[in-house]
């Protein structure tokens, strides 16, 4: 991808500027400084779900069309989901401890995020330890995992909820809104760049494998 170096510089610049935007954003009324972790916490989850849905869709394409390229996207998507999910799972409890007094609560968003994260972690474990042919099996898991997301959401939602409602984002004050969407853009750009790099790596790896195989003939 020719634009890769330029976009990487742009992402680096955005992340360098983000703390300035965050520091200038107004304090939230009840939580004060602690709330500012939200500017990285929520975009991490945006990135995780982006990765999860890309993995799910690419898994379906790989399973039904046999497209190897789709398999590369699925693997990259799953890795994104696990890495950014881990970021979210670390920043979340750090925030929760200060804001709610507990490290963890069995609330909708937390539980859903944990389950989805575990599903895609399982995807990576399957690809690593499943032996030959595990790409297809992992595609099956990716598809089932992505399809499962609404079910986990509704089942946990009926079970219990204390997390701030989704209506928080549209009701952000103007100072906060700017910083928030800037961070979302930075995270999504980073997601795209990491995915591009990862997919390129997988493609090269596949080419090397093909070359080895053709050499043996």
């Amino acid at each position: 991808m020719r634009a890769f170096p330029v976009l990487t510089l742009l992402a680096a610049a955005m992340f360098a500027y983000a703390p300035i935007m965050i520091a200038n954003a107004p304090f939230e009324s009840t939580m004060g400084l602690v709330q500012k972790i939200f500017y990285f916490h929520v975009p991490s989850w945006f990135a995780m779900f982006t990765g999860a849905f890309i993995c799910g869709y690419a898994s379906a394409v790989h399973l039904f069309k046999g497209s190897r390229n789709a398999d590369h996207y699925a693997l990259a998507g799953a890795e994104i989901a696990v890495v950014f999910g881990l970021l979210g799972l670390i920043t979340g409890p750090l925030w929760a401890r200060k804001a709610w007094g507990v490290w963890w609560e069995w609330d909708v968003k937390l539980t859903l995020a944990l389950i989805v994260w575990l599903t895609f972690l399982a995807y990576l474990l399957l690809r690593r330890f499943g032996g030959p042919g595990s790409e297809k099996l992992a595609a099956g898991l990716g598809l089932f995992g992505a399809a499962n997301i609404p079910f986990v959401y509704y089942s946990v939602n009926w079970w219990r909820t204390i997390h701030p409602k989704t209506t928080v984002v549209p009701t952000l004050g103007p100072g906060m809104r700017g910083a928030f969407w800037f961070c979302v853009a930075a995270f999504l750009l980073l997601t795209g760049l990491i995915m591009a790099a990862r997919i390129r790596l997988e493609r090269q790896r596949a080419r090397v494998d093909d070359l080895y195989l053709s050499l043996e003939d």
């Binding site: 399973l63 039904f64 389950i115 989805v116 575990l118 599903t119 399982a122 474990l125 399957l126 330890f129 499943g130 032996g131 042919g133 595990s134 297809k136 099996l137 099956g140 898991l141 598809l143 089932f144 995992g145 399809a147 499962n148 079910f151 986990v152 509704y154 089942s155 946990v156 009926w158 079970w159």
Partner: protein, 226 residues
């Protein structure tokens, strides 16, 4: 060969093989009972079970025993290379899936028939207060668990580390089944059984079953072929 004929033939074959030794049935049932006993030591204080333990223990025992049964069923197929033979047969692949699902479902319902009275006894839980609702919940939940489990167990037959990978893959996907099953059963176990809540959870389970069985029928063939 119609779809149903294929299903019936494979189910008959599995039942025949199982009845000759009854190995999977006895070992799975005993495992489920041991699970319940272990949980008893975990959740009983001063001679009484803590509140809500019975519902959770029932479903956890079903989940653990189910995972074991799935692994054993397909291990048997793998050892005798019969799965490959089945896949080479000129019949609908989804029919093989449905037959395997039916076999696992029968096995698990047999185990549940032992578990429910045992848990009612050990935990003093009025599990038989609303028998029809409980049966419906157990059937829908077991169907959901078995539907996803059969696909995963079948596809893992050729994978390495298949024994430990099956629970790793299966449990996150079947979380909605466990939540709905436990909450639905717990609603029935209250002093005043909350049948409306149980019905709501049952509808979630049925919806899950429909979606995931459809998905399984759709993906079984691509997953099982090279």
């Amino acid at each position: 060969m119609t779809f149903l004929q294929t299903v019936w033939l494979v189910v008959k074959k599995d039942l025949l093989v199982e009845f000759r030794s009854r190995e999977i049935l006895y070992t799975t049932a005993f495992f489920a009972v041991s699970c319940v006993l272990v949980f008893s030591f975990g959740f009983v204080q001063d001679g009484r079970a803590i509140d809500g333990a019975a519902a959770g223990i029932l479903w956890i025992a079903v989940a653990f025993a189910g995972t074991l049964a799935l692994g054993r069923t397909f291990e048997r197929e793998r050892q005798n290379e019969t799965l490959r033979a089945l896949l080479m047969a000129p019949c609908d692949r989804p029919a093989i899936y449905v037959a395997k699902l039916a076999g696992v479902l029968l096995l698990l319902t047999a185990v549940e028939a032992i578990l429910v009275p045992l848990i009612a006894l050990l935990f003093g839980a009025p599990l038989l207060a609303e028998p029809l609702m409980l049966i419906a919940l157990l059937l829908a939940g077991t169907m959901g668990f078995a539907a996803v489990g059969t696909v995963f167990a079948a596809m893992l037959v050729r994978a390495r580390s298949r024994d430990v990978l099956l629970p790793i893959l299966l449990y996150p996907i079947t979380v909605p089944v466990i939540i709905a099953g436990v909450r639905g059963t717990a609603a029935l176990l209250q002093a005043e059984p909350d049948v409306a809540a149980a019905r709501a959870w049952l509808s979630l389970l049925v919806f899950f079953d429909v979606v995931f069985i459809t998905l399984a029928l759709w993906t079984f063939e691509p997953l099982m072929t090279e």
